[in-house]
Symmetry: C2
Subunit: 518 residues, 2 copies
């Protein structure tokens, strides 16, 4: 009995503390070792993930987001990682961790976030985004809910690769954190030493726009000495193959409200006379983009920097699976005037992410609504400034005849202006990109390709947004190594994680920890 | 004690049963008698109203709508009105009542409905649409919640005319029912005999489109012998003056859903590529009407019958208070290209009563939504057929390139059609109108004018819809005599009743019961 306990402690302590040194190992070999470890420990790994997912993690839910941070501290310190909470007023702290490898030359920061997008439980199949559920396939393929297998000490590989765990942040972005820690456990269990010093930065308000990350990191600059930052956020390529990406788009959020009468009016007694804000909003949105998805706002594409040669080459080499995607997603004709998806995400976007005015369906009331709201997000590419982008959009709204304000209109404003739009800038951040031909870039690609049999897709940029500009500003090159399935319902209801991707992610992170050097 | 009980019973029995006959009374005199009675009985009248309002009455809420009907039976039978429930499968029954006045030549049916529009409690200031609340003024004027006055036996006029009762159906349409019964109580208490036989038809699914009213009445045609139907539904004129109206618009409801990808997609990874249904819906709606509110659907105005001379004259005589309304409602410029409100409601309308796609505001998610919904209603005028109107709108949607369906699209449909719209016809009914120069029309106007000091506004049609075509089909002339305040938030949240209007309504109904003859 004592023997077993000592063995466990040995597993949980850093290699350095054990005073031993494993031989260098090729990434493929490390990946295999991690896989073997995982197959013997799936139960424990999934349990750790599910316990983490069970803590509600919407950034604005202050009490719960703090619980997530406290839970993370326990998870990191259990691995002997020195942990500090960098406080953020009214939000979850930045969880910072550091694990020194005495003989390492390089330091790599691993970035992920532990908050998730807001949830509407009613829109989830199981109705409970924070009660992780296991299904034997993706819901769209008829996946049925199954119980988590009972504790299986001694059984190998009890989870099928195609099984999925459903929960908010199952993919975005809690599972990469668990995958990294499990990879670390695996290396230690297999006595494989780390090639680098590891730091972690785990953010608690990425889905709320990372408004405080930059300021927080600047206050703790002394902690951030490093040679590379790896971000774990985002899904892999839609082909299912692993992904390494070197850039991402920026992002801004805008809320637009247009106004009708000061209160909703009976559509019989006032229809034809009271201005209808839902129709006005429709006209405004329709004027912003054409049917191909081309933004009609003046100068919208002017600041976008053209792609360099390396990026063009990488783009050309990326797998083309648009037809498969169209089929899977039920899209008869994509926007973009015939361009490929990978080309289109290199351009700025303008997206209507939501509409609301009065009620529809069974709740519909026969009224002229008092207001109509549109929630917009714009993705930015290199060369574009977030505030300027917002200004362009707001100026366009004004040119459509709107009096724009940042507050609920007063009666006097309503009486004096035929068209009123409340236009609220939620903030955002710019795009960023790391050159693909840096030594570190090449070294990382090599490790990931070795660990995955050369199947990784190498992308100049991701369509999504992660606040990597912050690290760019700190002079730190960053590269994205996401691990989760692309069909994860990220940001929507029924978010899920495919276990096969999770396992492979552990192997990739294990190979990086053990072998990245340049 | 026995004496008091006998007196009460006498009050509650029909005049005929008491074997006495009061002298004929001029409407103004009857109105005064009803007022005197009311001032001594406000407490009891308001209590009866509030008990009725406390029963939730959304037509689809089967259990509660039945409770409303049972409650109505008690209210009617307490007045000695012979009551029958005409069943409607899955809905509240039509409550039919009959009160014979032995020497009367004429029979008048009083129509109202006891169901109300759907509610969103969160949108109500007090959060509880079925817990009547008293306020000392309208909320917009800073009305504060006050307790209902304690039982005031012996006190006169405890309720201020400007006080309001807030509850679903406080105006639309429960209070007219209570006003009629209270007027009947008043006549009996003052020993004023009725000039007519009274029948009542109280419907339980008017706000759900009266889908079963016609069939139900046809099954019980033998009950419906009458010379006139008076509908109590609708508000009075916006000037605050009483209203008599001779027609109303028809109404149809349409739910339109357009589709994007089969599931909501990350707006970063797929923005610019996945077709955005919120933008598509905006373009579709924008194509339906121009900025003046003119409907651009081919032939939309073709079937509308021109107004006759009597209607034109009545229109010209109606008070003009558009400027006041604009000011009150915070409208800088109405739709309609400069026409007056009373003219515009004589035309067909097309109204976007609601929009929904994904989420806005704090709940916004960075997605390309999977669908966008618009709820439309169209008001019809004389000459227009509901089904044809729907067909026109659906055909227009098809001409915009949409493949229209009546179900959720299949994967095959999604893959084959670039634009898909689910277009659901909720049904509806046509407009109707009673000639203003019939003897009964003139007689009714005379009574109402006499009872109200000649202040009533006489309108050829109401902008709203009541299923009066059903009675027109039965060969029965009908006239509208609404009593509630126009600013009652009908169909929306914070529906309310101004007590001064309620009291005046009692007087008008009392005068009609006592004096209408032709």
């Amino acid at each position: 009995m004592k023997h077993i306990v000592m063995a466990l402690v040995a597993v949980l302590l850093p290699c350095a503390a054990r005073g031993q040194k494993a031989a260098p190992s090729a990434p493929a070999q490390v990946a295999q070792e991690v896989r073997n470890y995982r197959m013997e420990n799936e139960d424990r790994i999934v349990r750790e993930l599910c316990e983490f997912l069970a803590i509600p993690n919407v950034a604005s839910d202050t009490a719960n987001i703090q619980k997530n941070a406290a839970h993370l501290v326990e998870m990191l310190e259990a691995r002997g990682i020195e942990t500090h909470l960098l406080p953020v007023t009214g939000r979850g702290p930045v969880v910072f961790g550091k694990l020194i490898t005495p003989e390492a030359r390089r330091t790599v920061i691993f970035y992920a976030h532990y908050d998730g997008q807001p949830v509407d439980p009613a829109a989830w199949t199981d109705g409970a985004p924070f009660e992780p559920a296991l299904r034997d396939a993706v819901i769209e393929a008829g996946g049925k809910r199954i119980p988590f297998p009972a504790n299986s000490a001694g059984h190998r590989s009890i989870y099928n690769d195609d099984w999925r765990i459903y929960a908010r942040s199952a993919s975005d972005d809690k599972s990469p954190i668990v995958a990294l820690l499990a990879a670390l456990d695996a290396l230690r269990a297999r006595k494989i030493s780390l090639a680098l010093n590891l730091k972690v930065i785990l953010e608690g308000e990425e889905e709320a726009g990372s408004a405080n990350l930059q300021r927080t990191l600047e206050l703790h600059k002394n902690l951030l000495g490093a040679d590379l930052l790896i971000t774990a956020d985002g899904p892999v390529h839609q082909s299912g193959r692993p992904l390494v990406f070197f850039g991402n788009r920026g992002d801004i959020g805008i809320e637009v409200t247009v106004y009708g009468p000061v209160r909703a009016l009976h559509s019989g007694h006032y229809g034809n006379w009271a201005p209808n804000p839902a129709m006005a909003l429709s006209r405004l949105l329709a004027s912003m983009k054409n049917e191909d998805g081309r933004v009609l706002i003046d100068g919208y594409y002017d600041d976008a920097k053209p792609l360099g040669e390396a990026e063009k080459k990488a783009l050309a080499e990326m797998p083309e699976n648009d037809a498969d995607l169209e089929r899977e997603l039920g899209i008869a004709k994509p926007e973009g005037g015939g361009k490929k998806l990978v080309e289109l995400i290199m351009e700025p976007s303008l997206n209507a992410r939501g509409l609301r005015s009065a009620y529809v369906g069974a709740q519909a009331q026969n009224v002229v609504p008092d207001r109509a709201e549109a929630s917009l997000d714009a993705r930015l590419v290199r060369g574009e400034d977030p505030q300027k982008k917002f200004n362009q959009i707001a100026a366009f709204i004004r040119r459509q005849g709107y009096y724009t304000i940042d507050h609920e209109p007063t009666m006097e404003e309503r009486r004096s202006h035929e068209r009123i739009a409340k236009v609220i800038y939620e903030g955002g951040y710019r795009a960023s990109r790391t050159p693909m031909d840096l030594p570190v870039s090449k070294a990382l690609v090599r490790v990931v390709q070795d660990a995955t049999g050369g199947t990784a897709v190498i992308a100049p940029t991701l369509g999504g947004s992660v606040p990597m500009y912050i690290f760019e500003d700190l002079g730190l090159p960053w590269i994205g190594v996401p691990i989760v399935n692309y069909d994860n319902h990220q940001h929507s209801s029924d978010e899920n994680l495919r276990l096969g991707h999770f396992w492979r992610g552990m192997e990739i992170y294990g190979a990086i920890l053990a072998d990245l050097n340049w």
